[in-house]
């Protein structure tokens, strides 16, 4: 496990493994500067053909750009002075769009588990280097999540598959096409009776049309769907309630009371970015005049959303449907199923909740979790109806996912067909079912029985290994395609760079199935939309759509529907779910198990992404591993403990007891981890680990939860057997200590308290003037940069951390180093708990460099490598640093990070393309830290100076600020009293961290305000 396989070339990592060696050799072929340019050259004819189209011409220029950039970056990245005979390689024909040294931005969308999110991609000389949200796009609103930020690394991942392979041997596209045709001949006869296509969730109209086309050509062929991370009960729920599949979305800005039934809508929803924004906008101080909203959470595992709730009920998963029924009944929904009795404690809680909901009819929302059974969804619809929320806060549209089916059933059928040898030709477009499919279907062994199977994927993964044909997939930043957002809004996805490794898109594969192997996905997508378009001038409309990043007016309009009377609901579903019918292991405490996609690597699709692996998971702050999460009480019952490691300790190594899990006779082992606030008598296991063929980074990390899962218990199983093994396992945890030790770090109050006395915070801390200092103060006649972070708005989603890493060329250090407490994040999200360990309040506090006015770091650096800038930044000069690390010792916030080894990868060519050319790539032995994205500041200042104006407020956004879904981070000029940041700092809720040290931080915070229900709070 601990072979963290660091990309950073540590001594341990430097011995190349077998895979590693192979990788180097092929890397020479593909990304050695000369060879790479040659590769680019090979693409020219294809694109030269489509010369007439503006889009393809631009793409062509990208290629040239990239080849130029390759020559460029190699020099400009080296931290030492460049060699005397460095070459300059100009264009032969310079494209008019490109001004060397200036980035371009292109709009596209990222298909996040099938659903689109609008993004703008920064491109330096044809190299996509950074992803930002598209402010116009409904699902983004300018924000991004961590996965989106890290997707650029995925693009340049040197472990991506590079060649079409047939049974392990390198093959060509033509060879594949002819082989495919041969198979299809026989299928034509049988009308495709043996043809099966397996996809993940599909929202792409073009792909849908293509699939329909295939099914028209092969009427007897079948299209299956299985998505490792998708809970598909929502559609069943809709069918149950409305008799038809419907997509639900909520307008949280109009909701005063929100009840989530195990729904992690702030993190895991196609609209999570929007929901987060709307949810927080109603709690922001100073905010809308309307009253703040209140979030009730009923859940088992401690989710990000749960940690942001005002009231949280942690109950075992099987109890949630029961509670939902009771709640529904109390809200006047007629239910056939008799209501189970509930404990008095819950009784009181529920009473208050019902009262609160009744008081906010039409201004509330009941949100069922995606992994809750259909009945809960149906009940939620009924409750929203009973509360008159439909059409006000809750809306229904046609399903966005095309032909949404029950994935579990779909997979079951497919496996059945494979078993009966009914499925002879299997085309898998993306996905990794050999890994993600639950153990009981035993997909791998069935897969190999088919006589012709194809796997299109980014990596040669577990599934590819078992397939006759593996086709490298084009990354979404390399592909022409289209995708729908949660509300149906379409984005035409355009490539930022030609496929680095000659990848293909699903469109091209399906075209090949339809006998048109030569069609490029550009043609396919464009032709589809030409067909759809009613515009007279299609080209103009097409350009607009590409430019804006979405097709205007393509969102589905809400449907006016009303749920059937709840009495009609199939309550058996409820029974079956709640009475733990599964095999019960004898003389073991009855423990339920919950499976969830990992917050970082989801179902394992991002397993090889070092940025995401090293991203501390929101609540546990674990990196590089998954664990068996359980409540303190459950841990005590099972005798699970932990031990703080001697090296790293609370900021690095925690030795956790390894437990053995048994379910249905299948076993696996994993470290147990205690999560305050987790429901008792159940454990949560995150998927996406235990990969065997993920790549250098993701292989053999953590343990594979799929080994326990069955189709019937995809997301929740009853009575799993857990045994303590006595072994211990080192987990890399970046913040184990979760108490504030009575220190005034995160200041909190209630919204009522604030409205009664807005100054309560200032009064609480005895107002004392800043202590004297020997050093004279600084004068700022120009700008003085400052930041305000709203702890009240921070939901702890980690987007800022990932964005900062991407913007500032942050290195990945690997598990070994994180265990020692040497991770390199410039901004971290501190997580603190307060109150009852069984159900604590949780506080998140993002901590970047405070840019102190009296900076302790500055005066202890012997060489002046960190100094006070004329605009009040604590500049960090990497090339002057000798590495005494004195500054870090003297930094009370411990935000400085040190390159103990050569963490940055200076070797891998493809990763050089990833770098932000405006930020130095740090070498070994130097200190580094946040500088408020000074590269962005300088660019904005230069731009402003050139048209003789001042930088206006909001013109500069730091990377963390830009990514933040809730706009919790505001940056600006504090010399300008009108600027947003100055306004915020003037707020009574504004406070500084550790100001008693007289550091006078430039980064200040806005206190956290909870909005508890008095009835529950004072009882």
């Amino acid at each position: 496990m601990s072979n963290g396989t660091e990309p950073a070339n540590l001594p341990e990592a430097s011995q190349p493994t077998a895979g590693g060696r192979e990788y180097w050799r092929s890397l020479e072929e593909l990304a050695g500067t000369e060879a790479f340019k040659a590769l680019m050259g090979n693409h020219l004819p294809r694109h030269a053909a489509a010369w007439t189209s503006a889009m393809d011409r631009r793409e062509f220029l990208k290629l040239m750009g990239a080849s130029l950039a390759l020559a460029g970056v190699s020099g400009c990245l080296s931290p030492a002075p460049a060699p005397p005979d460095e070459k300059i390689v100009p264009y032969v024909n310079q494209p008019e769009e490109i001004v060397p040294g200036k980035p371009l931005y292109f709009a596209t969308a990222i298909p996040a588990e099938g659903y689109g999110r609008g993004i703008l991609v920064e491109s330096h000389m044809g190299r996509p280097t950074k992803v930002e949200g598209n402010p116009q796009h409904p699902a983004s609103l300018g924000a991004t999540d961590a996965g989106t930020q890290a997707s650029v690394l995925g693009l340049y991942d040197p472990d991506r598959s590079r060649v079409i392979s047939n049974a392990g041997r390198v093959a060509t596209w033509d060879a594949f096409f002819s082989a495919l045709n041969a198979e299809l001949e026989s299928q034509r006869v049988s009308q495709g009776a043996g043809l099966r296509i397996l996809t993940e969730t599909v929202t792409s109209p073009t792909l849908a049309a293509q699939l329909q086309e295939i099914l028209r050509i092969f009427p007897k062929a079948k299209w299956h769907q299985f998505d490792g991370g998708a809970g598909d009960y929502a559609q069943q729920g809709a069918r149950m309630a409305f008799g038809q599949p419907l997509e639900t979305f909520y307008r949280l800005e109009d909701a005063d009371v929100i009840v989530s039934l195990d729904g992690d809508f702030l993190l895991r929803s196609p609209a999570s970015l929007r929901y987060a924004r709307e949810f927080i906008n109603r709690r922001r101080i100073p905010g809308t005049s309307s009253e703040a909203n209140r979030l009730y959470m009923i859940e088992s595992t401690f989710s990000l959303t749960g940690s942001n709730a005002d009231h949280r009920l942690a109950i075992s998963p099987s109890a949630i449907p029961q509670l939902a029924t009771t709640l529904a009944a109390r809200l006047g929904v007629q239910i056939s199923a008799q209501q189970p009795a509930i404990s008095p404690a819950h009784e009181k809680w529920l009473g208050a909740l019902v009262k609160d909901l009744q008081a906010h009819r039409g201004r509330s929302a009941i949100m069922p979790g995606e992994y809750q059974p259909a009945i809960v969804h149906a009940l939620a619809h009924a409750m929203n109806d009973a509360l008159g929320n439909i059409g006000k806060t809750v809306f229904y549209t046609d399903p966005v996912a095309v032909n949404a089916t029950n994935h579990a059933e779909s997979l079951r059928e497919l496996v059945q067909d494979l078993e009966d040898n009914a499925a002879q030709v299997l085309i898998m477009l993306g996905g990794n079912p050999a890994y993600t499919a639950p153990a009981d279907v035993d997909f791998p062994s069935h897969l190999v029985t088919s006589n012709f199977n194809v796997h299109l994927s980014l990596y040669e993964d577990e599934t590819s290994a078992l397939c006759h044909w593996h086709i490298p997939q084009a990354h979404y930043l390399e592909s022409w395609s289209d995708v729908r957002a949660y509300d149906g809004t379409v984005t035409i996805m355009q490539p930022l760079i030609a496929p680095l490794y000659g990848g293909r898109t699903a469109h091209e594969i399906l075209a090949a199935l339809a006998g048109q192997a030569e069609r490029s996905s550009y043609e396919i997508v464009r032709d589809y939309w030409r067909g759809q378009s009613k515009e007279k001038n299609f080209d103009a409309a097409w350009r607009t759509a590409l430019h804006d990043g979405f097709v205007a007016g393509s969102a589905f309009s809400p449907r006016n529907v009303k749920p059937k009377p709840a009495a009609g609901f199939d309550a058996s579903a409820l029974k079956e779910r709640s009475s733990g019918a599964a095999v019960k292991a004898q003389n073991e405490p009855s423990i339920e198990v919950i499976y969830r996609p990992d917050p970082s690597v989801l179902d394992g699709r991002f397993a090889n992404n070092g940025w995401l692996q090293e991203l501390p998971k929101p609540l546990t702050k674990l990196t590089w591993d998954n664990a068996v999460l359980m409540s303190p009480a459950t841990a005590a019952k099972l005798g699970i403990t932990y031990q703080v490691g001697g090296t790293g300790g609370e900021h690095g190594t925690i030795y956790a007891d390894v437990v053995e899990l048994e379910y249905d006779g299948r076993r696996t082992r994993g470290p147990g981890w205690i999560v305050p606030g987790h429901a008792d008598d159940c454990v949560t296991i995150h998927l996406g680990y235990g990969r065997r063929r993920a790549g250098r980074v993701g292989t053999n990390l953590g343990f594979n939860a799929n080994a326990l899962r069955t189709l019937d218990t995809l997301w929740h199983g009853t009575s799993i057997a857990i045994r303590k093994t006595g072994a211990q396992y080192a987990l890399a945890c970046t913040q184990f200590h979760h108490l504030m030790e009575g220190r005034d770090l995160v200041r909190a109050g209630t919204i009522d308290g604030y409205h009664k006395n807005p100054k309560f915070l200032r009064e609480r801390e005895s107002e004392k003037e800043a202590p004297a200092t020997l050093y004279p103060g600084y004068k700022y006649d120009g700008y003085a940069w400052g930041m305000s972070i709203d702890v009240n708005a921070c939901i702890g989603c980690n987007a800022c951390v990932a964005a900062c890493h991407a913007e500032n060329n942050g290195p990945v250090v690997g598990k070994k180093e994180v265990l020692r407490g040497r991770e390199m994040h410039w901004i971290r999200v501190d997580r603190y708990h307060r109150g009852d360990p069984s159900n604590p309040e949780t506080y998140y506090q993002p901590v970047p460099c405070m840019q102190c006015e009296n900076a302790p770091c500055e005066l202890v650096c012997p060489v002046g490598a960190t100094t006070h800038s004329q605009e009040g930044l604590n500049d960090m000069v990497y090339n002057r640093c000798v590495g005494t690390r004195y500054c870090s010792n003297n930094c009370p916030y411990k935000v400085r990070r040190f390159n103990f080894f050569l963490y940055s990868d200076f070797k891998t060519e493809s990763l050089k393309l990833l770098r932000n050319p405006d930020v130095t790539v740090r070498s070994r032995g130097v200190m580094e830290k946040c500088t408020y994205c000074v590269q962005r500041i300088n660019q904005a200042k230069i731009a402003a100076e050139k048209d003789d104006r001042a930088v206006h407020d909001g013109e500069i956004e730091t990377a963390c600020q830009q990514a933040c879904p809730t706009r919790a981070i505001i940056f600006g000029n504090i010399n300008d009293p009108q600027s947003q940041v100055s306004q915020l700092k003037a707020q009574p809720l504004s406070y500084g961290l550790l100001t008693e040290l007289n550091t006078r931080p430039r980064t200040t915070y806005q206190a956290k305000l909870r909005n508890p229900n008095p009835e529950i709070e004072n009882g």
């Binding site: 030492a80 002075p81 100009p90 032969v92 120009g782 300088n938």
Partner: protein
Amino acid sequence: MAQIFHPSTNTISRVTIFGGLILLIAVVTGLATINESPYITEVGVARTQPVPFSHKHHVGDDGIDCRYCHTSVEESSFAGIPPTKTCMNCHTQIWPDSPILEPVRESFRTGKSIQWTRVHNLPGFVYFNHSIHVHKGIGCVTCHGRVDRMPLMWRENTLYMDWCLECHRAPERFVRPREYVFSMEYQAPADQLALGQKLVKEYRIQKLTSCSTCHR
């Protein structure tokens, strides 16, 4: 017992003591000089290029403006190296088949870029922006010297940090009116300081000596 030291030893020891001191000083100053010498700084060292391109001829004789080739100097950090196309604009007519221009024509034919040898080269951790310097009235000549007198390009200044700071600490000594930024002949007036102070006000030139001005 016999004397082991001849009286001359006294002199020798004195010489060694003082000689040692002198030698030490000599070595230190010597190293410093080498560090400032063209051997290290490449100042005044003409670099060979794939095509012996003469700024003297193109700028001095033909009077082509800097911006004709270095197109992005006013808008980007990077002044821009002309694409082969730019050369061919003229050289399809002028000397279309001169042998020394063969590499240019070849590049245009094959689409493979010409690989020029870099003359002005800053370390990777220095972020210099041409456009803002040009905008603030720093002449090309101020840093690059009289390129109109350079048959082959060479480095006019050391590009050492202290050289940059000369100007960043006292811009008034070097700034010139914007209209003369691209002029080769412009001579600083006798009262440069007076003019400089005036321009510094007019162009709102700050004395940017923060580290992050150039290092990020």
